[in-house]
């Protein structure tokens, strides 16, 4: 019995270990190659670099104009996510607490956006009419709009599990609707607000479709597109491309490690409760 258990344990651990390796392998290859010299990185292998060249990173930062694109990415991701969190919490709060016919309609109408495709061709027309094309304001507004539906879904689901008695007590104590949102609503929602912030930050950071359509000026490009551009110029210098890739991923990797709990919670919350 014990013997069988040990065999089972070895088999099952062997399988999962192999699977996990397959998933981090590409990341590992990129990391190793980012420290190699040009010749070594021509064939992407798992071999350790003969000499660890940290200067690759320095070169990339200087030649890839990474500061500018890093600043752009930061701007889009943080401003976009903060605005999403603030307006969607307010919306979800009233929609979830007062389920009138109109409010239910608004809710279902908006979460339809989780599934609907964005028509970038006509969105371009709207951007031109509103004079937002090729502007940083414009791209932030688009990011906010397209990420609202899933954010609403997550926050709404969270509010359904909050006891309404707290609100009632506050109202009896003479809270106005605005105070109720600011002093009761937002504080109660803070855990889910962190989740929504983190998920949106990563989504916006990683996106490249919107700048592809709506920003033709490379000085406004986020890091993802800058990498792509960099790749176009340094196509046969994979060590540099790998260093650039690592730098672009670094912020989201850090956030991922720090905020794992919130990400996993947010990903699984809505879908499990259904």
């Amino acid at each position: 019995m014990l013997f069988k258990k040990i065999i089972n344990s070895i088999i099952i651990n062997g399988i999962t270990l192999f699977v996990s390796l397959v998933f981090i392998l590409p990341l590992l290859v990129v990391l190793l190659n980012s420290f190699k010299n040009k010749a070594e990185s021509n064939t992407m292998t798992l071999r350790l670099p003969a000499k660890w060249i940290i200067e690759n990173y320095q070169i990339v930062i200087e030649r890839g104009k990474l500061f500018l694109s890093f600043f752009n990415s930061m701007l889009y991701a943080s401003v976009g996510s903060i605005i999403i969190v603030l307006i969607i919490s307010a919306a979800a709060f009233v929609l979830a607490r007062n389920r009138s016919k109109l409010n239910n309609f608004i809710y279902y109408f908006m979460i339809l956006g989780i599934a609907l495709p964005i028509n970038n061709v006509t969105l371009m027309k709207i951007m031109k009419i509103t004079d937002l094309i090729n502007t940083q304001r414009g791209i932030i507004l688009i990011y906010i709009s397209i990420n609202l539906p899933i954010s609403l879904f997550i926050v709404y689901g969270f509010i359904r599990n909050l006891p309404v008695e707290i609100d009632e007590a506050a109202i009896i104590d003479g809270c106005s609707p605005r105070q109720l949102l600011l002093k009761i609503g937002y504080p109660l929602l803070s855990p889910v607000m962190v989740t929504v912030f983190v998920l949106n930050f990563m989504a916006i950071w990683n996106d490249f479709t919107m700048p592809l359509y709506f920003l033709n000026n490379s000085s406004k490009w986020p890091m993802t597109l800058a990498v792509y551009n960099f790749f176009g110029i340094f196509e046969n210098q994979w060590n540099l491309v790998c260093a650039d890739i690592m730098l672009t991923m670094l912020p989201v990797l850090i956030i991922f490690i720090l905020a794992q709990k919130y990400i996993v919670g947010g990903v699984s919350a809505g879908a499990v409760k259904g």
Binding site: I87, I106, L116, P117, N119, P149, L152, P177, T224, G274
Partner: protein, 291 residues
Amino acid sequence: MNKKKTYPTYYSYAALALFIIFFFLPGIMGIFYSFTNWNSLSSDVNFVGFKNYEKIFSGRYDFIRYIWNTLKFTGLTMLTKTVFGIIFAILLTHKLVMCRNLQRMAIFIPQVMSFLIVGLVFKSLLNPVTGFLNNFLKTIGLDFLAKNWLSDAHLALNTVITVDTWKGVGYLMIIIIAGINAISSTYYEAAQIDGANFLQKTWYITLPLLKPVILNVTILNLTYGLRVFDIIYALTNGGPGHVTEVINTSVYSEFSKGNYAMGTTLSGILFIFVMMISYVILRALEPKEEL
């Protein structure tokens, strides 16, 4: 308590307005413009009836194949991600497995990488001559398995689907793990007493009780697959010779060529199709929702 006063609906108007202007309105406008000859060459837009739709469905152009590719991509990724998601979730909730949390995170990591980066990395790893995969296969003596993963017309779409599964399966696994953790342990204890083994427990308890979660996951996969753009653009950009082209990549290429009407027609077809599916799904889920 006067709910209408306490929770003023206008608190939702900022979100609603943005959603309508930058998301819903373009969708509706797209359907309107699909009946025109809107393009970048001339400034006037004329009504042309169903001409654009005719062009797509007549089969004289490749568009019908792009729609087919989209459906194929959606169907296959739905299958692979769900199946592997369930397998990984069951394995990584098994008590005998060590460092479960760490391994879950390892499988989830591709999810936090940008599609563009995933595309670059895999284009390099799958390079037929210098790539990691073929070199690896050659070192272990499996030369015959080394293929032109992304440039072989017969393989390309399957390669893209595999990479997409690699990227997306962690997300589904996390959802399914949460579903498994929500199953009451009393079921397993009862089965234990009845002498059920691991496979029996999985088949008769875990899977049936996961049905609602699997349904949700399937919906997520469905809506993702139909709208896919990023992974295809990043890996093959529709090539070689349009064999991996899907609706949204062809929207982009029509858009770049200035054929706005055609781009918007393709996008409109997707819009209407997804609307219909969403309606059916919402209807099907309605009774469970306590409104």
